[in-house]
């Protein structure tokens, strides 16, 4: 075990996979100097052929990733902020998600698109989206959103070593939280949720950076209300470990999904839809989504902050599923 920040875990994963397989290449805007630290030192270590700064041309970077992967490389593309996935969306939605299918399975596309996402840092509407839904909906793209350092490393390694296109959502925030990371070749499989807490009173599914407020909410619920939740980290949105969620709801009968997507067609909506179908028999209360309202994120921090799911909203949602009211805040 080693204590690593999220960004270092990302960096470790990149180093290990680039060491392991020389077909792995990395390109993107400013990956050499690395504003966030995730790709720091890679250029020096692996040289200018394998690690390349690119012009600001998201439109073609995604298509290039497809071509380079189809022609035998393992490609990591840093797309910077998730909003720039929109800018390069053709290469993802029309090409990466479909080329294997359209060619009758002739090709493997080992591509990892890395992006930062989410709000809370006064970055303004064009740098703060969490566009899980459009990617999850494509069908042909794996979608990964780790919540801690160990999974960040293990999932990124799985993405790079895998043979399918993946969008990897880096938890935002410079450097990120510290966490214990297992030594050695630590891989985390796709499609297996983590049960972060096993409580039994209600099921809380929290995605990516929403795990932090969800953990805080779980503490408050336990301490203040004596409510012990099952807290589930899906880790990968595609593939999705529906069974882990359903198993928990089968015990709790209650579901709250915490997701930084905007509400309509959010990932939270989809989890609720799955449970409202396959898990309906065990449901004992309305399913709650704690998401970003259907607005863009503003710059002014006091206006931005309440839009992003926070412990208070999560606590209130869980209590509502239990038919209880939050205590008046002092």
């Amino acid at each position: 075990m080693a204590r690593r920040r999220l960004m270092h875990a990302l960096n470790d994963a990149l180093v290990e996979e680039m060491e392991r397989d020389e077909r792995v290449i990395l390109f993107g805007e400013d990956v050499e100097i690395s504003m966030f630290g995730d790709t720091k030192g890679l250029r020096e270590r692996f040289g200018p052929r394998r690690v390349r700064d690119t012009p600001i041309s998201e439109g073609i970077l995604t298509g290039m990733a497809v071509g380079a992967a189809a022609a035998g490389q393992r490609v990591v593309v840093h797309m910077f902020m998730a909003n720039f996935l929109y800018t390069g969306f053709d290469g993802i939605a029309n090409q990466a998600a479909k080329l294997r299918f359209m060619t009758g399975g002739q090709v493997r596309l080992p591509i990892t698109f890395m992006v930062l996402y989410g709000g809370g840092r006064a970055l303004g509407a064009q740098h703060a989206d969490t566009p899980f839904p459009m990617l999850v909906n494509l069908g042909g793209i794996n979608v990964v959103a780790p919540t801690n350092a160990a999974d960040t490393k293990g999932l990124l390694k799985t993405a790079i070593r895998g043979d399918n296109p993946t969008v990897f959502f880096e938890p935002g925030g410079r450097g990120g939280e510290f966490g214990e990371v297992p030594d050695g070749d630590h891989l985390v499989p796709f499609g297996r949720a983590a049960i972060v807490r096993g409580g039994g009173d209600a099921t809380v599914v929290a995605v990516g950076s929403m795990m932090k407020p969800a953990l805080q909410a779980a503490d408050v619920l336990e301490r203040t209300y004596g409510v012990a939740v099952d807290l589930i980290d899906p880790r990968t949105l595609v593939p999705l470990d529906e069974d882990a969620i359903l198993a928990s709801v089968a015990r709790t009968g209650r579901l709250v999904v915490v997701d930084e997507s905007r509400d309509r067609c959010s990932f939270a909506s989809h989890v609720a839809a799955v449970v409202g179908d396959r898990g309906f028999a065990s449901l004992r209360a309305p399913m709650k989504r704690v998401t970003v309202p259907n607005v863009a994120l503003p710059y002014a921090p006091p206006a931005e902050k309440p839009l992003i799911p926070n412990p208070e909203r999560i606590v209130a949602a869980v209590l509502e599923t239990l038919g209880r009211a939050p205590l008046a805040t002092p």
């Binding site: 439109g59 073609i60 290039m64 071509g67 380079a68 992967a69 189809a70 029309n94 090409q95 060619t103």
Partner: protein, 341 residues
């Protein structure tokens, strides 16, 4: 060749490289095969045998054949919705092509892609894009892979005059020039983007766009096989030698419909009969045939080539027609490698 140039008539220029008689004959064979395959597919469409309409390559054969004759095994080609010709120019499998266009089980893409997506990695066809211009990024990426792998491979991207308006072209020229990628960008300017004449959607000229990136841009007569071959040679060689990309503009003409179904929905003509007739007089096939005749190839030899192409097309069409449909469940295995969708 470092600047934009339209060659006057280089195929007659004795200082330029000339194909040997055998090379010419081989290229002619491919061109004839493409023509007969496309005509047959047109007939098959008219006869209601195809699931959808098709975009045929008739009139443009010299482009694919002249360029691909310069390629080697292992080189990559990104193709388009009008891609049957590119595939056949890469020694494609005629039956597999027909079966694909018929949407059948033994199509090269197992019936999943269809006419606009005739891709065959075993022949270096790295996707045929129904997103106009979508191949540009893919080819640029393939060129990057080729450079990494250092085996002298090159990537060629075919795209239309319509596709040249996609911003990806500029992005590709920039990146490929900066990184000296082994890329040849081949614009087949066939006069139309669907029903929009090139001139109404293209400012300046396509070949001249390369200069702004320090990339050679060359425009030649795309209906003249020798010109195409002569322009493609140095472009491919330059790429293979690690000297970076070239933009070729091949000026040709689509003598058939944009899509075979167009007469069914167009309310007015978009070009004159005279214009089409005029271009038919510049048909690329007879020009090569004449040259071969002049080089002493007998008429009956040439007729045999034609007959054989017709036979292959007819045989493949019959094969496709009776080939089974794909098993619908196959779709679930194709989204991901080794992973449920």
């Amino acid at each position: 060749m470092d600047t934009y140039a339209v060659n006057a008539n280089p195929s007659l220029d004795p200082t330029l490289e000339q194909p040997t008689r055998d090379e010419l004959l081989a290229m002619y064979g491919r061109m004839v095969l493409i023509r007969r395959v496309e005509e047959r597919l047109g007939d098959d469409f008219t006869a209601g045998k195809l699931p959808q309409s098709v975009h045929l390559y008739v009139g443009q054969e010299a482009c694919a054949v002249g360029v691909c004759a310069r390629l080697e095994d292992g080189d990559w080609v990104a193709s388009t919705h009008r891609g049957h010709g590119h595939y056949l120019a890469r020694d494609g499998d005629v039956r597999g092509l027909f079966a694909e266009v018929f949407g059948r089980r033994d199509g090269i893409c197992r019936g999943m892609g269809g006419s606009p997506h005739v891709a065959d990695f075993s022949k270096g066809i790295i996707g045929a894009n129904a997103v106009v211009g979508g191949g540009i990024g893919i080819a640029t990426g393939a060129a990057l892979a080729a450079q990494m792998q250092d085996r002298g491979r090159v990537a060629v991207c075919f795209f239309g005059d319509g596709a040249a308006a996609q911003g990806w072209l500029g992005e590709a020229l920039n990146i490929a020039a900066l990184w000296r990628l082994p890329l040849v960008l081949v614009c087949e300017n066939n006069g139309f983007a669907e029903f929009m004449p090139t001139a109404t959607v293209t400012a300046g000229s396509i070949a001249s766009r390369a200069a702004g990136y320090g990339v050679p841009g060359v425009a030649v007569d795309g209906n003249d096989l020798i010109e195409v071959w002569q322009a493609a040679g140095p472009a491919v060689a330059r790429a293979r030698a690690g000297q970076g990309p070239t933009l070729l503009e091949l000026r040709t003409y689509r003598t058939r419909a944009h899509t075979e179904s167009e007469s069914g929905f167009l309310s007015r003509p978009y070009r004159t009969v005279e214009e089409v007739e005029d271009w038919r007089t510049r048909d690329p096939l007879p020009r090569v045939r004449d040259r071969l005749s002049a080089a002493g190839v007998r008429d009956d030899e040439l007729d045999t080539i034609d007959a054989e192409a017709r036979r292959l097309a007819a045989e493949a069409s019959a094969f496709a027609e009776t080939n089974p449909w794909p098993d619908p469940s196959v779709v679930y295995g194709l989204m991901f490698h080794d992973q449920e969708p």
